[in-house]
Symmetry: C2
Subunit: 198 residues, 2 copies
Amino acid sequence: MFSDRFDQLVQALRILPSVGPKSAQRMALHLMMKNRDGAVQLAHALHEAANYIHACQVCHSLTEHDICDICQSKERNAQLLCVVESPADVLAIEQSGSFNGRYHVLGGHLSPLDGIGPDEIGIPHLLQRLAEEPIEEVILATNATVEGQATAHYLQEAAKHLAVRMTRIAQGVPQGGELEYVDSHTLSQAVHNRMQMK
Amino acid sequence: MFSDRFDQLVQALRILPSVGPKSAQRMALHLMMKNRDGAVQLAHALHEAANYIHACQVCHSLTEHDICDICQSKERNAQLLCVVESPADVLAIEQSGSFNGRYHVLGGHLSPLDGIGPDEIGIPHLLQRLAEEPIEEVILATNATVEGQATAHYLQEAAKHLAVRMTRIAQGVPQGGELEYVDSHTLSQAVHNRMQMK
Ligand SMILES: [Zn+2]
Ligand SMILES: [Zn+2]
């Protein structure tokens, strides 16, 4: 609107998730009027990230090195491996502070109709890790979606011949969830998988 | 979290208006996992915008040139000048399609307590334009806030000696506004400034 470069900036901001035309315009105006240094810093950070961040050779999470900090850490329990669909899931679990093992990021889930089979999500590499590393338990933490469940079941079968305990993260009513607002599929699963009070 | 550069990207994204830590993290993950080309494009657009976009010498709106497209256009009515607080207001009025004159951007409003007086918002320059250009009507389109109103009143007084008609954008109930949801100050103004049915 003001100039081609302004329009190009608005357009470029729209690649960000959940940024529509109005927000992109507001962001561009904010940067141009109130925070040009911030705009330059953001440009720099984007460049650096795009050039230096890539997949860890071991777990396929994100890192700047060949092998990520978690895979390299001596503090983490090497006997425990958590399998997730994406680096976002690694972040979520790390931020929950509930896990001290290592990860394996599949980079997606099985989706035969889209041509995504075991090879596309690196299941051979995962099975190789299970055979070579001193892993005793695999926590299947794929999403609680139809595809995530199917992927977990596939992995359970594929690893059956290995001396590894396979577990699945619990599914049920979320903490603070009020029953009247929980969907009935979740609720029926939660009743079915009810646990002994301790 | 994954790496220093990832954290720096998350931090840099937080300069964007209404982007909190969670959204910034989601944006960084999206860019790294799904749209690296977009990240590079956005970096480029930010750089270009920060380097080439500046204030128009005539109206102080944003432009890549010395004088902006609107000030240069022969299609715009040079007798009509709309005074606004910011380039965002220029965009809003342009997008309403309701105005074919030119603009003058103050870059703020009078705020004596913050040391912002007439000089700080370029009122001498505006008065100079009114004296030199063939302007017949000035539409005061500062915000309908206390400061915007005060700024409009100040301008009206300051331009009194000039042969220029001063008008103020109408204030009242917004289109589609349901009376029960309109604040009472707006409503009392709307009753007070009621207009003859045509
Ligand atoms: Zn790793
Ligand atoms: Zn201009």
